[in-house]
Amino acid sequence: MDLPQGTLDLLILKAVALEPQHGWGVAERIRQISNEALKVNQGSLYPALHRLERRGWIKATWDLSDNNRRAKYYELTKAGRRRLEQQTDAWRSLTSAVNLLLDHH
């Protein structure tokens, strides 16, 4: 399933909220948690990561990965955490409103 417009940022912020992740990890996490339902295209993932970094919602550090390779890890900043909360609320109220509308007979 393709991602609805504008949701990628939210998913990335959520994916790095628990612990720092590299780009590959973010994609994997989104795929796994959504039970393979959501697939992130690299062509949009990396530009999105760089954009979020520039906005200051995530920050990057270089670290060794599980298989001992250097990888770029992204973690949430304070501003990013606030952003995630806002976006989550916004998303919830949007979906519930849409649900209401769809459930209405």
Binding site: H22, G23, H50, R54, A71
Partner: protein, 875 residues
Amino acid sequence: MLRDLVHRTRALFRRRTVERELADELRFHLEQSVERHMASGMTPTEAQRLARLEFGGIAQIAEACRDARGVSVAEITLQDLAYGWRTMRRSPMLSIAAVGTMTLATAAIACVGSLADALLWRAIPVDASDSLITVAATRGRPGDGVVSYPDYVSLRDRARTVNGLAAHYSTAPLFVVAGGQAREVNGAVVSANYFPLLGMQPALGRFFGAEEDRVPDRDRVVVLGYDLWQSWFAASPSAIGSVLTINGSGFTIIGVARSRPPGLTPMPVGLYIPTMMLRVGYRWCDDALAVSCTVVSMIGRLAPGRTLADASSEFAAIMPAAWAGAPIGENRGLRVSRPRGMSEDDQEPRLVATLGVVAIVLLIVCCANLGGLLSAQSAVRQTEFGVRMSLGAGPLRIVRQVLTESLLLALVGGAGGLLLSRVFMAALARMFFAMDDEGHPLSYDFSQSAGVTMATLAVAVAAGVLFAVLPAIRAMRAPLIGVTPARSTAPRWSAARWLLAAQAAIAVAMLAIAALLAFSARSVLEGRNYDTSHVALMRVRPRLVQYTPQRAQQFHHQVIERLRAMGSVESVSMVGLGSVLSGGSARVSLPTWAPEQQLAVHYNEVGPAYFATLRTPIVAGREFDDRDTAESPRVAIVTDSLAARLWPEGAWIGSSIVIGQTRREVVGVVADLAIHSRRDSTQFWAFAPFWQNSGQVDSRLAIRTTGDPALLLPDLAREVHRVDPAVPIAETITLPTRIAALTRPVRVGALFIGYAAALAMLLTAVGLYAALAFAVSARTKEIGIRVALGAAGARLIGSIVGEGLTVVVAGAAIGVALAAAATKVVASLLYAPAAADWMFYAGSAGLVTAVGVGASLLPAYRAAAVQPIVALRQD
């Protein structure tokens, strides 16, 4: 925000690190992917292939990341500039041509800017020049706006919206004798408040105060200009307190002004005397301080908080009561304005506007030309753009690249143009603006102001954008590598064809106008019914040394006798009004006419042999001679057209004519002196004998010499001084020099438009050559086939030249129409009759066509030389 900035800055300055990190990050992702596939049992090769396939284009993702990261504008620009520089170096001829073209075109723009700035726009260079105003009288027709001294005083004392109103007569020809030198110097007669009003400071001594400018003729004090102090007094402080003679009166030097005082006219001021000394400084009125003698100009400073509009309405209200009912031609109103520019000639604003249009049209021609050339280059660069787009560059990025390259060319050209225009302006100033028509030195400040510099660069940038449009469109259409054949299709040259035709049209029009102006300047100089060559002029001014009319007549007789006796002098005559070939005006009528039938004509009082000296043909009767004296019957001479107007049935000689109030007998008719522009109709002239005006004191001499008059000028002056060394002599120049100065706008126009025309013609030739050469090279294969099928070389050449010729002939036809329209615009600058205009149109069209054919021949011969076998082997 700050973080954003840090990020961008890092991206700019640590580009290598950032780039490496990006590459590492993407590679890590790929490797993870490869490992996953290998874990599921694939061979390494298979795994890698699949991983790359899944990942997509690395280059595009990297480019998208750079965009997302907001790579700074500066970085892209730097990159583009570096790239543009490489492109320029790869095709140096094209780059030199482009930069050279821009340099020559922007130099023209900058020159017009500097001219407009100095002549029309610039404020007087003093502190707080914004609050300076000039108050000028209006007369219901163009005039100089001077007022009488009493009128000035009444305005000064009643005006409340100004903080001071000064009077000045800044072009006073003063005959100065000091330290063994005697010479006419341009002086200024100024009120005492003139100096503080303009914020001037003395370099030495002091300026005169209000008390020294209160009682007529009492305080004979003078302030020297810095240059005069340097040259006449060797910059000696002891000059203060010494006495010099001005127009025969002794004046005590009390101070020296600093160098480069703010000039209110282009004539540099050598010395300043108080307005109470106007009777010494101005001798054309019996009493220069009387209310009937209009002589001073006014400059004031607005009081704090007051506007131009306040001052305008106040001055309208406090205008002298007598002005209200004054007829047209006398002072009848006041105009308040800000002093701007040095122009004193009402033709100059029109000239500057014309040159501005020419410069802009020239720049547009350059843009069209460069657009064409770069667009052809852009077509050649299709492959390069294709590669870049395949590597992930978006179309906007490519357009940006093309734009940056154009701007680079435009700015380098613009900077070159600014430098070149300084050279041009120095030459223009030397050639045309160094001297007025009476031989007085002028000083215009044509230095390039910051405003002109910025405006020129802005125009260059606009031009750069303009000539980037065509190549940019082409670049954007570049096919991706491998998507379509890399070889470009044959270029369409229909759009380019029209652009070239337009260029040819403009070249023809500019060429025709430049030629018309040059011919005009020449025809005024050579004259119809007069001959300026070998005529020297000299102004003798016995009035300045208090000669009576009787004594002046004696003096003139002696002078003329002495000059006639010189071996190198053919004839001598003089005029009493204005100057040689011009004069004053008068009303003439027939004795039977009612007063309202009077005709306004040009008028002068001329000496014996005036027309012989000017070589003006006598149509009937005789010219004035020694018989025509104050005692003899009143006589007159009229020009051909005036005679025909007054006596249509002929019988002119012996008829009576009333000039002013005096009835005169016509003794001669001379050919029309055609010295008027096309805008004015034929001018009527009437002449009376110099000696029949018993009030005559000063005169301007016209001396026909056998040799070069310029070389004889000192000898002529020495001869006049032998009669009385005290009589001031001025304006010793030759008639051709004077005419040349009078026709300055025509000559400036001819030179400037000629420059533009030459450049436009060159551009048309280059553009045509390039377009045809490109078309030939793109059609090599077709031509090869035609040659192989037996097409004759001559027919090939004919067909290529024919293509060029069609364009040029179409352009030339439009150009002739344009030229005819432009001729009307510059009619006030044209002195030659319109009947010959068609020759200039035809000549210009012919010249541009010939140049066009020449430019077409080269590519045509190249086409004819195509070897079929070589052409067909080409891919």
